[in-house]
């Protein structure tokens, strides 16, 4: 009972603080903008901790955040091995191959009208399909190690990346292309100097979407068979052992990796497309 009151009071207090920060006199300060979501996250974590302890929720249903943190800190070497196996070997190599292949295909599609008419409708259809389903087939072909995970990631990121790049290459206006032509620019110099730079916001949009897809592909592929390490393996085996603190620790690794990966691509985007309106403050 007292825990419920404590939780309620905390919630009201922190929410009021958030309201004050978000709408009060300080709302335009940069630190206030940063503090609001942080405070909200901390509130949720504290309420979670209080609720789990007060209601004595068994560990197999929901461990408290403090225990997840302790487990995370205690099993850093194991989680690091999983991180290397799933993220660095599986997801990143597949991401590089898939996005690179899609980029080259997009340029071929852009060059040949035949491919534009034939491949593009197929690609936008494929982009909506549940491609994760190819995971069991690819695991069967490429074995249990990271090569099969990379293959799943390649197939998953290919179509969204292709659709985005092609859309980006169509972004220049007729007047801009005519200007390049009047300067006697060849197809390739028009591509490199005008149309690729103009396509960059779209390309980075595709790259950002694909960061998440890459991690999903690498983790789901491990559900169909993996060596005895990797985040997907860790999650399934720990669920089997009812070690839910370990599951949450592995999810924390996946979340940190996903956010970091996305943030890295967004950072590169800021540098490359500094001229785009969406990057201005």
């Amino acid at each position: 009972m007292s825990a419920a009151i404590l939780a309620l009071a905390l919630w009201i207090g922190l929410w009021a603080l958030n309201v004050w920060l978000a709408t009060g006199p300080l709302s335009n300060r940069i630190w206030a903008r940063m503090a609001v979501p942080l405070l909200f996250g901390i509130t949720i974590l504290i309420l979670w901790e209080i609720a789990v302890r007060a209601l004595q929720v068994p560990l197999v249903i929901l461990p408290p955040p403090s225990q997840i943190g302790a487990r995370f800190a205690a099993s850093l070497p194991v989680l690091w091995g999983d991180f290397v196996q799933t993220i660095l070997r599986g997801a990143l190599s597949g991401y590089a191959i898939g996005c690179g292949a899609a980029f080259l295909t997009a340029i071929a599609v852009d060059r040949f009208v035949f491919l534009q008419r034939g491949l593009l409708p197929l690609a936008s259809f494929m982009a909506a399909l549940p491609i994760v389903g190819t995971a069991p087939i690819l695991v069967m072909w490429f074995g249990f190690d990271w090569q099969s995970k990379a293959a799943v990631v390649v197939v998953m990121v290919f179509f969204p990346m292709l659709v985005n790049t092609v859309a980006g290459l169509a972004e220049t206006s007729a007047m801009q292309r005519d200007l390049m032509k009047s300067w006697g620019a060849s197809y390739w110099s028009g591509l490199v100097k005008l149309r690729l730079p103009a396509a960059m916001p779209f390309i980075f949009n595709g790259l950002k979407i694909c960061t998440t897809l890459a991690l999903i592909g690498a983790i789901v592929a491990e559900f169909f068979g993996s060596p005895t390490l990797g985040l997907g393996f860790r999650i399934t085996t720990s669920v089997g052992q009812l070690a839910l603190d370990m599951v949450w620790a592995a999810i924390l690794v996946a979340a940190l990796a996903g956010t970091g990966f996305y943030g890295l691509v967004a950072l590169i985007e800021r540098g490359v497309t500094f001229w785009h309106p969406s990057q201005r403050n």
Binding site: W15, L115, G118, T134, I235, A254
Partner: protein
């Protein structure tokens, strides 16, 4: 013809490639079968063949090439084998099978239609939950600055997190509190379809420009009236665009959610196929899932045209 010609040519090329790729991929199994039947093959033992190049094996045994498209457990089933499996499991098994419509009066659990139905109902339930929750959160975000600043960054961060990693845990946790069947899968579906809707709807509800909202103010419209008469109608194109993404994501969620529970569904079917080496079964389930996705997206597109026509917009 000029519009569909290139698509037709590419699809035909894809099928040709598929048949061609099946030759080197299945040649080992084909040679082993032939050897068991007493046909002389080059080289003679499986161990030698294991180390040999697949293309070399094909060239050395041209007589066995037709066999690669008729293996029982091929590494890559040929298109007609997949089509046969689809026919067998979608039509024959459901109607004529031991537990099919004729003999038992219900869909067979060995047929694909039942599994597709299980997946579809989880997808639909999850999609509905995710859409309603997403629209509600978007309305909250548009109306409360505190909520926007508190929740929106987390919504964006959660987009970057591989959410399906949670799937097995959600299923197990819900099982231990007594929930099983449709709901755990639907929750994963809802989670995946939730964020596209939130992001699209926030954009859509903000689509009316300042002049339009000022006009509402001169009419002394309440917040509720602004929402129902201006913001919601204006957000419809955004809503449908994100619903198409959301329904595809919901289907992925349902399929992934079926992996840890063996309660049927297309995902369970794929996993079973991968355990028992039934490749044609995996491909059939995959194709049916693809058809399901196409139907769902087309249905949203139809609803979009209908809604826009009812609202007097350009469809």
């Amino acid at each position: 013809m000029s519009r569909y010609g290139p698509i037709f040519v590419l699809v035909a090329g894809l099928f040709a490639l598929w048949y061609a790729a099946a030759v080197p991929m299945n040649i080992r199994e084909a040679l082993s079968t032939a050897e068991r039947d007493g046909v002389a093959v080059q080289p003679g033992t499986a161990i030698e063949r294991r180390d040999a190049n697949a293309l070399g094996l094909v060239l050395a045994n041209p007589a066995q090439i037709p066999d690669v498209w008729a293996q029982e457990r091929p590494r890559l089933p040929a298109p007609h084998q997949v089509a046969g499996e689809l026919w067998q499991s979608v039509v024959m098994e459901e109607i004529e099978g031991r537990r099919g419509l004729v003999k038992s009066g219900s869909l067979s659990n060995r047929g694909l239609l039942l599994h597709a139905w299980i997946t579809l109902s989880a997808t639909a339930l999850g999609f509905a939950i995710g859409t309603v929750a997403g629209v509600l959160l978007a309305v909250g975000i548009v109306h409360s600055r505190t909520m926007e600043r508190s929740v929106m960054p987390w919504a964006i961060v959660s987009q970057t997190v591989p959410i399906v990693a949670l799937a097995p845990m959600i299923v197990v946790v819900l099982y231990s509190v007594g929930l099983q069947g449709l709901l755990p899968k639907a929750i994963i579906s809802a989670y995946l379809s939730f964020f596209p809707v939130v992001v699209g709807m926030v954009k859509g509800l903000r689509a009316p420009d300042a002049m339009q909202t000022d006009q509402m103010r001169t009419w002394d419209a309440s917040g509720w009236q602004v929402l129902t008469r201006l913001r919601l109608p204006a957000s419809m194109p955004y809503l449908f665009a994100s619903l198409k993404i959301a329904v595809a994501a919901a289907l992925v969620g349902a399929i992934v959610g079926e992996l840890p529970v063996q309660g049927g569904g297309l995902g369970a079917r794929m996993l079973a196929g991968s355990y028992y080496g039934q490749t044609a079964q995996i491909w059939a389930a995959l194709l049916l899932a693809a058809a399901l996705a196409a139907i769902l997206v087309a249905a949203i597109g139809g609803a979009q045209r209908l809604a826009l026509r009812r609202m007097g917009g350009a469809a």
